[in-house]
């Protein structure tokens, strides 16, 4: 009968009235971020970085600035450069993740944040000191093996540089025996396997 369709339509909206709203009240509630989210707050492991600047070369926007100098052990084969500047201008970053894909040593990771808005462009440049001091909560973008160890990028425990590599960190021990970070404690301390303690010792001996 004519008019029943109208009643049917009214019942449809009435049914929706009783449903729970979909709205997420952002500042108070947050959606769970996907672990492979390509966000701000780049995570950088200085222990892994050799200063090869692959990330800077691959960046389509050229917003990664790397200044290196030969370290005191530079002549030794397999040693790394000393990083003096590592600036990422995230105000122009488009979060393509090519720098992370380019890194041959698994030293650079995307973050999970998206709340780096600021009133000044100068504040939008992540400097090397900020990268050093930031909590290490890498996104699992392009490093899905991180998800195997039940790691949650949004909170939870931060990841040590030994835990994030695609291969065992002992790879460094074997092939980059002279690796050492200037002005920082030797990275081998507190090694769970007990095999990495010799990491920095030969380097100092050579130098």
């Amino acid at each position: 009968m004519y008019g029943l369709a109208m009643a049917k339509g009214l019942m449809v909206t009435l049914k929706n009235l009783t449903k729970k709203p979909f709205t997420v009240q952002y500042p108070e509630e947050r959606l769970k971020q996907h672990p492979r989210f390509r966000g701000e707050e780049f995570v950088w492991y200085e222990e892994r970085c050799t200063g090869c600047a692959s990330c800077a070369k691959y960046c389509p926007l050229g917003i990664i600035k790397i200044v290196t100098s030969p370290s005191e052990t530079a002549p030794a084969e397999g040693d790394k450069y000393r990083l003096e500047e590592f600036d990422i201008a995230i105000n122009r970053c488009m979060f393509c993740g090519l720098c992370v894909e380019a890194c041959p040593y698994d030293a650079l990771f995307m973050g999970s944040g998206f709340e780096q808005g600021s009133y000044s462009r100068q504040d939008m440049v992540i400097t090397i000191d900020e990268l050093r001091q930031a909590d290490k909560h890498p996104s699992t973008f392009y490093r899905p093996q991180l998800e195997a160890q039940e790691y949650d990028p949004r909170g939870g425990r931060p990841l040590d540089w030994r835990q994030v590599g695609r291969e065992s960190w002992q790879w460094h021990q074997r092939e980059k025996a002279g690796m050492r970070i200037a002005g920082r404690p030797a990275p081998g301390d507190g090694d769970p396997d007990g095999e990495g303690n010799q990491l920095s010792a030969p380097a100092t001996g050579e130098g």
Binding site: Y2, G3, T13, K20, P21, T23, Q25
Partner: protein
């Protein structure tokens, strides 16, 4: 200074005015207490409309949100209750623009002409027993007359804005208003015949059974017509925002826009009050002498929620569908309702012309059956018939065959084909 309003005075029946006048008249001179009593009434009226508009705008935004699985405004105050205040402050501080080519005087007069009918409409509605601000003996006629002023205001807005969208909206609005005025008036005749009076207080007291069940067809026609006159969805042709920007109030901003919006939202509340008074028993309910205002308020809110529900559900009608509904469905139905009601009253009333509750019950049965028949009969008139498109050209049209255009030769490299 003993000023007492005599029974010969035209405002004697207005209880509120009389009481205030007599109370203030104990200390003030008569001419001053006259003004004070008048001011009290006007103050109540204006604030009832503005508060009603504010409450309705909050209610509408919250409820539409819930209907659409959203939250609606909830940031300021508990449940976003202060949102109308924020809206009003924002609109007051916005720049008040007048188009350079506008008809300035008419443009300026529109917000006033929009708000005034809404306030005037509420003046005769009884909020509780003997509480109408003016108990007119031609209340129904007065309401019909006053609501028609809105169409003039809409056309003033459309014309003075000197904007084609505003003019389109105004033309559509006036077309809708003129069409829907007719069935609304005819549908109200049945109510007036049943009550035997045009005074809204008498209409309320005549409703031993609420007229919504005695006059279901009149109720439907009146609600549909009211929604059309208020420019509410699904009849909001005049301000169809997806077609005409904002229709007749495209050029309005700031305080003028705020007043037009207040008139629209307050208009829904006022129309809901009128619907409650005419069809839902007004202030009647349990303990009506003490709680009449509460029943009136609750019923008005229920009707307003009904308007919001309809808005959340139905899409906008096209102008031809709109007019087809008015002329092919609502008008015949209201005419049949009028005829049926007249015959029923003629045969059912006793010698003194009084209709008892049992009489109303009999009429309810007849009218409900009649309504089902009418909906079945006239519903097919407004239902759009989808004709299948005949293949080929319509008769009488001879096809013109154009000579085939030669495609330009392309030079392909040797050895390649297309």
């Amino acid at each position: 200074m003993n000023c007492v309003l005599g029974p010969d005075n035209i405002l004697y029946d207005t209880v509120l005015f009389r009481e205030v006048y007599n109370f203030v008249g104990q200390v003030l001179p008569c001419w001053l207490s006259w003004f004070v009593a008048g001011f009290v009434i006007i103050f109540l009226l204006v604030n009832a409309v503005l508060l009603g508009a504010a409450a309705f705008s909050w209610m509408e935004r919250r409820l539409i949100g819930k209907f659409q699985n959203r939250l609606g405004p909830n940031r300021w105050g508990p449940f976003g209750l202060f949102q109308p205040i924020a809206d009003m402050v924002k609109l007051l501080f916005k720049e008040d623009l007048t188009p350079g080519t506008a008809d300035k005087l008419v443009f300026l007069a529109v917000p006033v002409a929009m708000v005034a009918p809404v306030m005037l409409m509420l003046a005769v509605v009884p909020f509780a027993k003997d509480t109408a601000l003016a108990n007119l003996n031609v209340g129904v006629l007065y309401i019909l007359a006053v609501t028609s002023v809105t169409s003039i205001a809409i056309f003033m807005a459309g014309w003075s804005s000197n904007n084609r969208f505003a003019l389109f909206g105004a033309a559509r609005g006036v077309a809708v208003l003129i069409s829907y005025e007719v069935p609304v008036v005819v549908s109200l005749l049945g109510v007036v015949m049943l009550a035997g009076s045009m005074s809204l207080a008498d209409v309320v007291s005549a409703q031993t059974l609420p007229f919504i069940i005695v006059q279901p067809m009149a109720f439907f026609v009146f609600v549909a017509g009211t929604a059309a006159e208020l420019n509410r969805t699904p009849f909001d042709m005049a301000e169809a925002e997806s077609e005409l920007i904002a229709g007749y109030h495209t050029e309005y901003s700031g305080i003028k826009f705020a007043m037009i919006q207040a008139a629209e939202f307050g208009g829904v509340m006022a129309a809901s009050g009128v619907i409650v008074t005419l069809f839902l028993g007004g202030w009647e309910g349990p303990a009506a002498h003490w709680l009449g205002w509460l029943w009136f308020l609750l019923k008005t809110m229920a009707v307003a929620v009904g308007f919001i529900w309809v808005r959340a559900t139905f899409p906008r009608l096209r102008i031809d569908q709109l007019l087809a509904l008015a002329w092919k469905f609502l008008l015949p139905v209201s005419l049949i309702n009028l005829l049926a009601t007249a015959l029923e009253i003629y045969f059912l009333r006793d010698a003194s012309g009084v209709l008892t509750r049992g009489d109303l019950g009999i009429m309810t049965g007849i009218n409900l059956a009649l309504m089902a028949g009418c909906v079945f009969l006239f519903g097919s008139l407004v239902r759009e018939k989808v004709r299948p498109v005949a293949p080929g050209l319509p008769p009488g049209v001879t096809p013109v065959i154009l000579p085939a255009r030669e495609s330009p030769a392309r030079d392909l490299p040797a050895g390649e084909t297309d």
